[in-house]
Each structure stands twice: as structure tokens, then as C-alpha cells.
Amino acid sequence: MTTVTARPTASRHAQMRAEAVAGYAFATPALLLIIILLIAPIIVVFLMSLTDYQLGALDWSWVGLGNYSDMFADRIFLRSLGNTFIYVAIVVPGSVIFGLIIAILVQERTKSKAIYQTIFFLPVTTTLIAMSVVWHFLLNPSLGPVTSLARALGFGEFDVFGDPGLVLAGLAVIGIWQLVGFNMILFLAGLTAIPRDLYDAADIDGADGAWDRFARVTWPMLGPTTLFVVVTTTITAFRVFDTVAVITRGNPMGRSDVLLYTLYKVGFQDFNIGPAAAMTIAFLVFVLVVALVQAFVIDRRTHY
């Protein structure tokens, strides 16, 4: 046998080379899009947040962190932030708890399971803008059936979207209406993953009542799913925009101004680019924080 002289390195190996060439060929177009549509805009928006640039203006200057300090002193921004948190604080528990209850009840149905699933999922697929118009009409104080029903039942007059105390709750009801089916599906997936044996074991151990079964098996086994549902719902609720844009436009008295709607008004109606950019960065920071929590939650889930 001859001694080995040539030592082919990995890079000279035909298959490795072909794979690397193909890898770059297939990934580069997507990478370019990532740079153009994601990375560059984020850098630009950050730089703009440090300027007093106005759309169409010819000269602009650096203002450092001025936009940020203005933002945190701005009543409108703080109010919209507060409103958003109130909205999230209603929608998240509402849609998660109802999603869970409905999922558990639907899971136990046999013949009617499919029809309930269809009904509850319906709002998830429909165009929220169109349905917002319908909701607006439904809750219209003079024409809407809900208010006339309330009137007939002796609850008196109320104008959900005109009442500063009710408007966020009204929007949140629509938010829950839209999200509950989505959460139901996620919970159903979690429920199907619970082994039947556990319920049988609980039965034999004496935990056979509905509440015992829920407290001893369902709820602990759904823990990871629940955390996950809470996080995704939080992200969705935090991005509320459509209902506000169609129904209230921030009214009455700014009580339904939410973060993205304010951002839209400042950036794309008033074209105050610098302040809008600063708000965008604040929004991004929040989203990234939630994403970190989410990563942590998913991590927990895999270790379960």
C-alpha cells in the first residue's frame, strides 16, 4: 500500500463546495431582502429618531435624545400608552379565560364539536375592518339593536363609543370577540396532547369531579400552553389599531388613543418624522422585551 500524501481539506471536497455554492445562491436573495426591508429601515428609523426631520423639509439637524425626552413628557403619548395597557389588561384575561373555558367544553363535545369550533374560529378569519363597521352599527346609541334592547330592558341609554368611561371596554369586547377563537384552538391543541391515561388515573384516585379533573390534571398540564397563549395574546392586543382607526379614531377626548394609532397620526398624518421615529423605537423595545419573555416561555415549554 502506498503512503497517503494528499490530504483533501473540507473546502476542497466536491460535495462541500457544491453545497456552499448552492447555499449562498439560495440564501443571498432572502438575505438582501432582510437587509433592505428589515435591518436598514431599523437603523434608519433609529437615526431619524435623533433628528428633527420633517417629511419634505430641506434641512434638518441632529437633536440627540430630544425626541425621546419630549416623548416621555408628552401627555398624548403617555395617555395612548396608558390606554393601550388598559386595553391589553382587559383583552388578555378576557380572551384567555374564555378561550380556555370554551376549549375545555368544546373538547368534551362529540357531535357538536366541529360546529362550535367553526363558529368560534369565524372572527379570526374575517376582515376585522368590515366587522368593526358592523360592531359600530350594533352599538350605535340610536340605531343599534344592542342599545335598543338595553333600553327596552330598562338599562337606560348608553353610548359605548361616545362614553369616555366605556370606550376602551367597548373596543376590548371586540378584541376579545376576535381573539377568543384563536386562543381556543391553541388550548384545544394543548388539551389533545394531555394523555387520556392521566384522567383515568385521576378517576381511580378519586379525582373524578369536573373541578378536580381540571385542577389536578388539565390546568397543570396546560400550564406551558397557557403561558404561551398569554404572551401571544399580549403581543396581538398591544398592536391594536384597526378597531380604533375605524370606530373611534382616538375619541372621545383621546380616551381611545392607543399607541399604534398615535404613532400613525404623528408619523403619517402630521409627518413629524423625528417624534414618530422615537415612538417606533419605543414600540420596538417593548416588542423585543415581550419576544425575550416569549423565548423564555418556549424554553420552559420544551423543558416541561
Binding site: 500500500m1 483533501p8 473540507a10 460535495q15
Partner: protein
Amino acid sequence: MSNLELSGISKTFGATRVLNDVSLSVREGEFLTLVGASGCGKSTVLRVIAGLEPQDAGTVQIGGRRVDHLRPKQRNVAMVFQSYALYPHMSVAENMAMPLVMQRLNLAERLPLLGRLMPRRGRLMTEIAAEVDTVARQLQIETLLARKPAQLSGGQRQRVALGRSMVRHPDVFLMDEPLSNLDAKLRVHMRTELTELHRRLGVTFIYVTHDQVEAMTMSDRVALMDEGRIVQLGTPAELYHNPSDLRVARFIGSPQINILSGTTAGEGVAVADAMLQIPVTVPRGHVVSVGLRAEALSLDAVVGRAKITAKLGHVENLGAEVFLHFVLPDTGAPLVLRATLDAYEAHRGKLDRPVAITVDTSRALVFDVEGHRVDGPARVAMRAMASA
């Protein structure tokens, strides 16, 4: 001339050394099996030969030609995968035709729709279909050609995978545990079929398995691998009767070889209450392992042969023969003895007490603490001749 030659192949994955200086020379038309426990590197050897994975060092030659710089498709090897790797969305006929389509049609002719307009395509496809049909007949799957892989049984998929590798008439067939997904009965049957197929085609087979029975029954030669190295390369008989290493002795053979601890003494090795007259190259007073195959032990008393006293535990009755599981009284070490049913019946009466088991010293194997053979070189050579 050798058909396939590996020299000094080494490979690491991260910190793990998967292959460590593997050299192997395979003769034209040989059926060579790489056998070993999972993770020993045997499948990696196949992938390196096929060019699917690069080696860190060493060279591969096929038909006397260096192939390290060639892409997998240029090496003219065919591979049968453990999962069969059939294209799930293509019919059996399309699966089998694929290597030929890729070989004979140019890029334009392979285009999904436009390809049909190319002038040569129709004729080539007819030729390919005819060849696929011939191979399908050889494998008796011609009635399955229109089906999708999901509609086939395990054995049928196995044949389709074989067919796909046969159509291209490769220089070397590489088979990566092709029978491990089949049920026990079909596996035995396919062993015969593969051996028959190899005889008929006369092409080199490199076969990877973790099943020593497959290795023993099918191969011309077997390479036993452990921790990325070839421990021993030889005919099945050599590996069985004349293992160079304790790992080989343990891996090959069913029931597993009996290993008893012994001590070298003046005239041989002391094992339990017996003294085996075996010349060893280890100085006296050292601990060694003595390997005794089940058939090297007997219940019949033979004058002049060493005897070990043991107590019968349980009996495994296989019909024509029985495995008697003994236990040594002092150490509790197990000892399996292979006997014919008649011999067992003849001795049955005395087996409720400890009995003397006769040892055929000429078939005993002695290993040092590192697992190397240490019974005299003359004996090793003699046994090699006997098993050849």
C-alpha cells in the same frame, strides 16, 4: 486489482473522532460487510465512499482512480439507504428511472414542461422505461410500477430501492443497513435474495450492518469496526474462529462467547478449577481472559482434556440443539454450552448436581487485559489455516 481502496481515512465531527485512519482494500466483485455497534463509524465510511461527506484526511479510489474531487453522482456508486429514501411523490417507475433520467437527459430535457418539447426526450424516455422494466422483472416488482412508495409494504419498498440502485449499473453498491426496517422473517428471506443478487450481478457490494448474523451469512469478508477503527478484517470464519481481539470475539457469534477470567501459570492458563494447556506469550502470574465458544464445551468426558466444574442453571431448548446455561460455583460466572438434544437427554440424570464440563483446549482463545490475542503465534497461524 482492487475495485475500491480507502487509505488512511480520518474524520471528526466537532470533538468526536468518527473515523480514525481507516484503510480498506476491496476486491472486484467482493461482498464486504462493515459490522459494528451503532456509532462505530461504519455508516460514515459509506458516506465518505459515496462522496456525501468529506473526510478530513485520506483518499478514496474507485476502479483505480482517485475520486475525492468528484461529486457523488460522478463516482458511479449506488446506495441503498436504511429508510430506502424513495421519493415520496413519485411512482415506483419514476423512482427507479430517476438515476437514468439524470444521467442521460440534459438540463433542458429535464425541465418540467418544456422538456417534453425536446426532440431526443421521447426516445430516451422509452429506452429508460424499458430498462426500468427489465430490472423490475428481475426483482419481481413489475406489477407495482404505477404505485407510490406509501402504497408499498416494507419489503416492496426495499426492492424498489434495490431496483433504483441497479438500473444505473454502478461500479459499487453501497448498502446502509438495508434490512433493519424489515420484520424478522422477511429479513431472513431478503438475506438470501441479496446474496443471490450479488452472485448474479458480480459487482462489488459494501454492506453496513449492526447485525453480526447478516455479516456472517452474506459476506465474502467482514470488517469489524469499533470507535472509528477497523478492528479486524477477514472472512466470516476467520472472525469467528480466530478473532484477533476480544471485541471481535464478543461481537461475533450467537450465543455470545463465554469469557472466563484466568491466570497464566507455568504450563498454560488456570481457569476456575481447571488448568488449560495453552502456550501463551504472557509471563506467568498475569490475569487473562479465556474465550470459549459454546461448542468448545461438552458434557461427554474425554480422557486427557481439562474439566471445569459448574452447576446447571436454566436450559434453552431450540429443538435440535439445546443451550445449557451453567454457573461456576465459586465466581458465579455464566458458562453456555451447546449440546445436541440427544447428548442433553443422555446426561440429563446427573445435571441436578455440579458436573464436570470438558473443554476443547485447542479451540480456546486467550486475550490479555488489553484484549489482544496472546495464545502463541504458532496456534494463531494454525487456526488461521484451519479456518481459511
